[in-house]
Symmetry: C2
Subunit: 162 residues, 2 copies
């Protein structure tokens, strides 16, 4: 049980090309619920900020819609924003992502939600960067650690909702 | 004189890599004036829309600032937007660009303004795309023709201001 939980709770990172990062993570919740946690503001605020207060300034989950979140962390406010390229519930979200600290450096995130047939869902995100340097900068910034913190909070939210 | 004018008024396009488009154009105006035409809303509306009415919904010409223009053309409204990555007057502007028709497909435009020392200015824009397909799609969309129309209007504006 301990090992099983450990496996479910770990994200697996790979680099399929020199401008991409690919991350997989399995959640113990059905696909529709995981989709809601990624797209409904009342749910997003409970996990995305990793315990920090998150203010959703904008969230239009539709093709062409914008999103903007501000995380209130101990070291200050961090703004993130982007725009939806594709929204196909409950299977696939494609959106852009940029951090206020590096404005104009835009990542394209393609996230798929796979129903594993046993009540679990695999979430896979492939991030495409404009340059190798931007990709490597993101990798060395603690991207996976931050994501794992968010996903641990999402585990708790999904357990509560389930 | 005719040939000279012709040369000044033509943009030169090249593709330095498979995800880039490079366009050069010389204007008969000093660098500071050309810079103003690219960054001041009262001037931008007089050339960017190629004769169509242009509404500037947002324009913060500073690092991290956003811009959003809506062109009112005969076939409808076309929104364009992005964010400034770098603003170094009167030499260099780096900003993102996307068209509402393909939301989330983001181009990075690096524009430099070179004083040619004879009252003319060379404007060079290098556009970086996330994929070859996006670059080729932009090339086949009539990108250069549209830009040449805008730049012809800019010629007229600069002559009037000069």
């Amino acid at each position: 049980m301990g090992a099983q939980t450990q496996r479910s709770a770990s994200s697996v990172l790979s680099t399929p090309s020199d401008r991409e990062v690919h991350i997989e993570r399995v959640f113990d919740a059905p696909c529709e619920l995981v989709w809601r946690a990624f797209t409904e503001p009342d749910l997003i605020v409970q996990w995305w900020g990793r315990g920090n207060r998150l203010v959703i300034e904008r969230l239009d989950v539709e093709r062409g819609g914008h999103w903007r979140f501000v995380e209130h962390a101990s070291d200050g406010r961090h703004g993130f924003e982007g725009r939806y390229r594709e929204v196909t519930p409950p299977e696939r979200l494609v959106s852009t992502f940029e951090w206020d600290g590096m404005p104009g450096y835009v990542v394209v995130n393609t996230t798929t939600f796979d129903d594993l047939g046993d009540g679990r869902t695999r979430v896979t995100t492939t991030s495409l960067f404009h340059t190798i340097e931007e990709r490597d900068g993101m990798l060395s910034s603690g991207m996976q650690e931050g994501l794992d913190q968010s996903y641990a909070a999402l585990d708790q939210l999904l357990a509560k909702l389930g």
